[in-house]
Symmetry: C2
């Protein structure tokens, strides 16, 4: 199950003229194993648990490559540090500025806003990159 996802992603890399190395395989495995919202440094640690020789910069470069393929997406939940997740789990983020809780919200909640903005400003929102800040149920 996860294996086929793994192979599909690695196949995508190969199909684009990229190469599948042990570092990349380990990184994708870490991505699949992790729940959403892992930082690059986080992933580096997980990968290094298995392959200690893998360098930070390799993680960043591989994540870039995967993002170029549309396999992963990164977003910013707060100050400093982006977080990565697989692109097929696309969603928006609400972050509580008080307790830091992250609420995931399906894209379609933003559809009306997207329509309004497109109509009024001829601007096409590509949501998901930045979180919306606010207060969660407990903190407000």
């Amino acid at each position: 199950m996860t294996d086929t996802r793994l192979e599909r992603i690695l196949g995508l890399l190969r199909a684009e003229g990229g190469r599948v190395t042990s570092a990349r395989r380990a990184l994708v495995e870490a991505l699949l194993a992790a729940d959403a919202h892992v930082t690059a440094e986080d992933l580096a640690v997980r990968v290094q648990a298995v392959h200690p020789e893998v360098h930070r910069s390799t993680v960043y470069r591989t994540l870039d490559a995967l993002e170029g393929l549309g396999v992963v997406v990164h977003s910013h939940l707060g100050h400093g540090g982006g977080v990565y997740h697989l692109a097929d789990e696309r969603h928006q983020h609400l972050v509580c500025e008080q307790c830091g809780a992250v609420v995931e919200v399906p894209d379609d909640v933003f559809a009306p806003l997207a329509r309004t903005v497109r109509r009024r400003y001829r601007f096409t929102i590509e949501p998901g990159h930045f979180a919306l800040v606010g207060r969660c149920a407990e903190c407000s």
Copy 2:
């Protein structure tokens, strides 16, 4: 005009037990003179043009103080670097991921979204901190 705004802000600082120094005065002047969306480093340069001895860290600390007073607000338009603007020019930002153009949008465009999110997720959006990414009219 701008002078009264300057004095009002400096007065606020004093009223909260803060002190009005030449560095602070210069920083607020720079803020008032600048059009919106200046970075901290940007402000540092502008201030140092008049008072070269003012240190980077003073700029950050003063901006923090002003933000605590509700005088300024900072937001993130993209990767790296926040931008500051006066709080009375509150608005949302749409940033074109292609050309970097920034479109300012009044808060009330977000009101329906805020209602939906509050109703469905009991989450109160405090918008403005992060920009919405997308494509502007020219680039789409």
